[in-house]
Every structure is written in structure tokens, then in C-alpha cells.
Amino acid sequence: MSRKIFALLSLFVVLSILLTACAQQAECPECTPCPECPEEAAAPAAEEGQSRLEIVKERGKVVCGSRTDLLGFGYLDENGRNVGFDIDLCRAVAAAIFNDPEAVEFVPLTAAERGPALQTNEVDILSRNCTWTSSRDAQWGNFTVIMFYDGQGMMVRKDSGATKLEDLDGATVCVTTGTTTELNLADNFRSRGLDFTPVTFEDTASVYNAYEEGRCDAATSDKSQLAAVRAGFANPDDHVILDVTMSKEPLTPAVPQGDDQWFDIVKTVMYVLINAEELGVTSQNVDEMMNSDSPEIRRMLGVEGDFGQSDLGLSKDFAANVIRAVGNYGEIYDRYMGPNGDAFTLDRGINKLWKDGGLIYAPPLR
């Protein structure tokens, strides 16, 4: 009797491995099982030379490296749906390919996982308010179009009376490790001859938790992030963001290296968002604009001419689909950070269109 149990048990365990290894295969067709079954893993399912666009189309979804813990940029609404500025950029790409902003699979990544996720092709797009630097460009992947010009700021308690970095000599500063802000913090204090004690964590929540608890005198990060976090504090008015900019932080979606077509697609979708704002095309009026007299608008919406849609492997009217789904750049911004934004209010500042004196500029679509 007990031998039978034993035989059953072993059968059960062997099957369980196979099942757990293969249960997931239904979801990702190109996925192969674990190293426990090396002979299967040796035969990769993806055929050689398949372009990323083909892979994405086959999968039916764009895989987007994102986050769920930053108000305004990437967070969950009360229904558990992924929303935010960065999230909408991914939805725009999905709308361009599938005409469906929901055809996205969001993979929440920690700061440490961003680089490897790109290097291993785990994601099709990394849109997780990630700063474009030259070494990341060389090592991680290709950075597309700067979608948010940010700068590093410093948040302090109001009652500390500090107004500039020099007032923070000897202070304890909370910062997220593995980020560019961590490096800029050191650079800025060193060049000014100031002393500081860092307190570092890997997850953003711990950083601001420690700051709010009073473990640190100051917290530093991108200004947009500080504004987002301050909005979520119990008493936002007790904290101020100093009027200093410690670095340039161009927040940019990135794609894995090695596929120029995919790189161009994502760039073009971003340009569409910006040009649409410039040309006054919004999600509300996009259908009327089809009949516009402006050749630029008619070209963008695919009514006449061609600006390379077919070379990119996209439909002629993809830009119209994108705008209909997520709106133009200004609409996306205002949805989360505008005067009536869902998350918090942040002045557009240098993120205005170039026409209005900002830095947001896109090459023409033609």
C-alpha cells in the first residue's frame, strides 16, 4: 500500500514540474520551460530574423516596462487599472499597432530591473520615467524621444528654513539607490564643498517613508517625482521643494537595441503625439480634422499622402487611432498633471511646446 502511495507521489511531483513549467506557455507562445528540461530549452521557438513588430503582432500585445507606485507617471487607479503619463505613452504605441490602447501588458519593474529588462528583451518599451544618459544609451538600449524635461530637486521640511543647497551642509538626505539622482546628489554637494549623510533604499516608498518619519532632513529626486510624492503626504504644506535644479533629467521611453524598425515606430508615435498638439488635433476633434484644409493635418491623419507609414509597417491612419485613443501630448499631460489633473498639478514649465517657449519639439511628419 505504502509503495503505491510512494509511486503516486513521485508521479505527482514529476507531473507538477512539467505542469508548472508549461502552464505558462499558453500565455507567451515563444516561452520555453525551465532549465530542468534543458533539451526543450535548447530549441528556441522564435524563428530567426523575425522583427520585433512581427513578434508583437503575433503576441497581440505590446509589453511595457512600467511602474505602479508613482502618482502621475505610473500608478493604479481605484479599479486597479494602470494609468499615468508614462503608461499612456505605451498605450499610444499599442493604439498605433492594434488600434486598441488596451493591448498592452504592463510589467512593473524596480529601478534595478530596468536595464536588464531592456538588455534581455523582456519588454518592448521601457516607459518608467527613466533618465536618458549616454552610458545607459550605450549599455541598456535605444532611447527614443525626450517626453518630459525634468531636473533634480530637493525637498525639505518647511520649518528647517532652508532655501538653497548651502543651507543643507551636514544634513541627512534620503535618496533612491541605483538612480542618476544618487550620483547627482554626490556631485552637487562635493562641488559646493558641502557635507551630507546619505540614507539610501531601493524602493521609492521606503525613501519617502523614511523622509516623512523624520529619518532624513531632506529627500532628493526628480522634481516631478517630488511634487507627486508631496501631494500624497499627510500634510503637503509642511514640505517645500527648493528652487534649485541639480541636474538635467530627460525622461525618455527606451526600446531594446538591435531593431531599427521598432525604434523608428516608437519614435514616430511620440512625434505624432507632439505634432498633434502643435497642429491642434485632439481626441475630441480628430474626426472633424480629417476634413481639415491643412495638408499637414491631412497627411498626419492619413487622409492624403504618406509620411512613411507603410515603411514602418503601420496602417495609413495609425496617427488618427493614436490620437483618438490617448489624445495629444498636451492632453496626456493635463490628464494627470494639468490644473484639473487626476494626480496633482504641476506647471508645464519647460515642457511647453517650442512655439510657447518650451522645449517640446518634434520633426515634421512628411
Binding site: 538588455q119 534581455t120 538600449g141 551636514g170 539607490t177 550620483l183 551630507f196 533604499f201 518619519e213
Partner: protein
């Protein structure tokens, strides 16, 4: 396996595929090919990735400037130092947590084990509640409780709890006076070292004399007297005080001066010691219970006091049972110190991850991190096994 037996069978007409030696050979070759093939396959993929996706596999980054600050370090560190140096800081931080943790956990564990064996009902119950509670809650949860709930709940630095003397306790850490050597420190150290050597020599010589002649010579008491007496004498002889005390003073944001333990370190250490202490308590208790009851009774019959029975009869014998599981507890503590990443203490694993992020070299950095853990684990177990064998030999 008896070789002759196999010889007999093969000499008769056994087909090749039933020849045990050939089967064994084939199995070995196949398994070797499978394992090596799998490893080669994996490495091939990495190299492929290196070519196609700009993944760097070299160790050349080690000499580049790190650029990131670290919250604490036992050696002087600033962000202009190299990645390699930052890594070393991480290694030393791990050792600092592990070594202090091991000593403290051993003390706590032994104490708890004795309490658990106590005939006093209340003490006994307190110890078992401690052990049963701590052993059944994951260490990471305990660390979170210690760090986020207890240590971050301490008062702000301006309202530090002042302990007797200039010791301050706040969210920022534990500040206490630090000894600072002066000009005469070297001369005084001489007294200390001579005192230490003399104490050891006296302890051995007098102990032997007592064993041989049976005359009481108080070897331990004498050794202690010398060990403490000589430095005290030296303190007065060198004239100027060899050490001054650096007191923590409240600055604008924080205390300056003095010795500082961050709450990150304190939380990690508290968590590790209390968790491992519970496991060590069970190890020690099992060891003491393994000593034959007759030994205890015989020692009492000879007129030894309770303490003497423990120290001279029970512990030496219990050690043989205790050492092997104790080794694995020490190694567990060292490995568990990698959870420092959750409470922001820059240990080896933490610094490794930061370097991976800042230098973008996942594979080389990770091989270094794993290498250090493996080296520490393997050398510790080799050393402890060596000691263990020595202790075991004493048996008969």
C-alpha cells in the same frame, strides 16, 4: 561494489549493454555532456547577448570612479573612490554585521537555553515563548518591524532620548562617546599587550602547577588581575592620559563627533541576533540535554557548585554535540545579513546591486557577490570542521 564480482560476470558472455562498467561509463559521459552542454548553451547566450545588445562582460569597470555615496563604511569612503573599493566597503559592512551578530547571538542563545532549562517556571516559560515566537515569524518580517515600526518610531534627533551619560538615542541613530588616542597611546598599548601576554602565560603555568601539585594557585583570578592591573598601572606611568573622549555634540541638523551607530545597522543587528539567538538556544539546549544525567549527578556528588558543574563538566561535553549545528547557524546568520537590502544598510548584496545599476554590468558584479558569499561560507565551514574534529578527538 566488489570489483572481482564484476570481473567474473564480464568474463562470461555478457552483452556490452549489460556490462556494468560500460553502462557506468556511458552514464557519466552522457551526464557530463548534458551538464557541460547546458552550461555552454547558457554562456553562449550571454556572449551572444554581449555582441548583439551591447552587454558588457569585462571587469574593467572596477577601477572606474563609483560616483555614488554610501550611507556607512568602516573604511574612509567617498564617491570619488572606485567601484572595486565600494565593493570592498560592502564586504566589510557584511563582515561587521555578521561578526558582531554571531557573538551577540551566541550570548543571547546560550542565555535563552539556560533559561529554558531552568527549574524556575516563569523564567522557563518566558524563554520558550521567546523561542517559539521568533522561530515562527520570517526574518524579513521581523526586520521590517524592527526598522520601520520600532527604530523609525524613535524620537526626532532634536528630542533624543538621553541615556545615563552622553548616549543619545533617536531616529538618526545611537550616538555615544568615542575614545580618541593621544600621543601617549602607543606607550600605553605596550602595557596592555604585555599584560595580555603575561595573563595568558600565568593562566597556563599556574593552571599546570595546580594540576600537578594539587595546591590552589587561583590561575584565573591571577590572570585577570594582571590583565587589568598592568594597563591601569601604565595609565598612571605614561603621565598624560592616553585616550580622550570625543563627545557627540548637537549640530544644526545632527549630532557631530562621537561614535555613531545608524538605525539601519542597529535594526539589522537586532533582527539577526534575536532571530538567530532563538535557533542557537535550541541548539545549545539539545547539546546540554545530550549530556548524560549521570555526569551531572556525579559532578554534584564530588561537591562542585552549580556553575562549576556547567562550566567544567556539562559544557565541554555538550560542545561536541553543539558545534556542528552551531556552524550552520553562524553561516545562516552571515547569509541572512543579505536581507540588509530591505532596511537600507549597505552590505555586500546591497552595494553589488547598486554597482549593477550604476555600472550596468550585471553578470560580472553578480559573480563577485556570489564569490564572496561562497568563499566566506566555505572557509568558515572548513575552519569550523577543523575545530570540530579537534573537539571530537578529545573524547577518548
Amino acid at each position: 561494489m566488489s570489483q572481482e564480482h564484476i570481473q567474473v560476470i564480464t568474463s562470461s558472455n555478457i552483452p556490452l549493454w549489460r556490462d556494468e562498467r560500460i553502462i557506468k561509463g556511458i552514464v557519466q559521459v552522457i551526464s557530463a555532456i548534458a551538464v557541460i552542454g547546458f552550461v555552454a548553451f547558457a554562456i553562449g547566450n550571454v556572449i551572444n547577448a554581449a555582441h548583439e545588445r551591447g552587454l558588457s562582460l569585462g571587469y574593467d569597470f572596477i577601477n572606474q570612479s563609483a560616483g555614488f555615496p554610501l550611507a556607512e563604511s568602516v573604511i574612509p569612503y567617498d564617491e570619488s573612490k572606485s567601484f572595486g573599493y565600494a565593493f570592498l566597503v560592502g564586504v566589510l559592512n557584511t563582515l561587521r554585521a555578521a561578526l558582531v551578530g554571531i557573538v551577540a547571538a551566541t550570548l543571547l542563545g546560550t542565555l535563552a537555553a539556560l533559561a529554558r532549562l531552568s527549574t524556575n517556571w516563569l523564567v522557563n516559560k518566558i524563554a520558550s515563548v521567546y523561542i517559539e515566537t521568533v522561530r515562527n515569524i520570517p526574518l524579513l518580517v521581523q526586520l521590517f518591524i524592527w526598522y520601520f515600526a520600532v527604530f523609525q518610531g524613535l524620537p526626532d534627533v532634536q528630542e533624543s532620548i538621553r541615556w545615563p551619560g552622553p548616549i543619545f538615542l533617536s531616529k538618526r541613530g545611537i550616538y555615544m562617546p568615542a575614545p580618541v588616542p593621544t600621543g601617549t597611546f602607543g606607550a600605553w598599548m605596550g602595557f596592555v599587550i604585555v599584560g595580555l601576554v603575561l595573563a595568558i602565560v600565568l593562566r597556563i603555568v599556574l593552571g599546570r602547577y595546580q594540576l600537578q601539585t594539587g595546591r590552589t594557585t587561583y590561575p584565573v583570578a591571577t590572570a585577570f588581575a594582571v590583565f587589568f592591573g598592568l594597563p591601569l598601572l601604565g595609565w598612571f606611568i605614561v603621565g598624560q592620559s592616553p585616550l580622550t573622549v570625543d563627545l557627540p555634540v548637537m549640530g544644526k541638523f545632527n549630532f557631530t563627533g562621537g561614535l555613531r551607530l545608524t538605525i539601519e545597522y542597529a535594526a539589522l543587528l537586532t533582527g539577526l541576533v534575536i532571530y538567530t539567538g532563538a535557533f542557537i538556544a535550541e541548539v545549545v539546549r539539545a547539546g546540554i540535554l545530550a549530556v548524560n544525567r549521570g555526569q551531572f549527578e556525579a559532578a554534584r556528588a564530588l561537591g562542585l557548585s552549580n556553575m562549576q558543574v556547567l562550566r567544567l563538566v556539562v559544557f565541554p561535553q555538550a560542545m561536541r554535540v553543539i558545534i556542528p549545528p552551531l556552524i550552520s547557524q553562524y553561516l545562516n546568520l552571515t547569509k541572512n545579513s543579505s536581507l540588509a537590502v530591505a532596511v537600507g544598510y549597505p552590505d555586500l548584496f546591497y552595494v553589488g546591486r547598486t554597482i549593477i545599476n550604476q555600472a550596468g554590468r550585471a553578470v560580472p558584479v553578480f559573480s563577485m557577490v556570489m564569490g564572496v558569499y561562497l568563499f566566506t561560507s566555505l572557509t568558515t565551514s572548513v575552519l569550523m570542521n577543523f575545530y570540530n574534529r579537534r573537539v571530537q578527538l578529545v573524547e577518548r
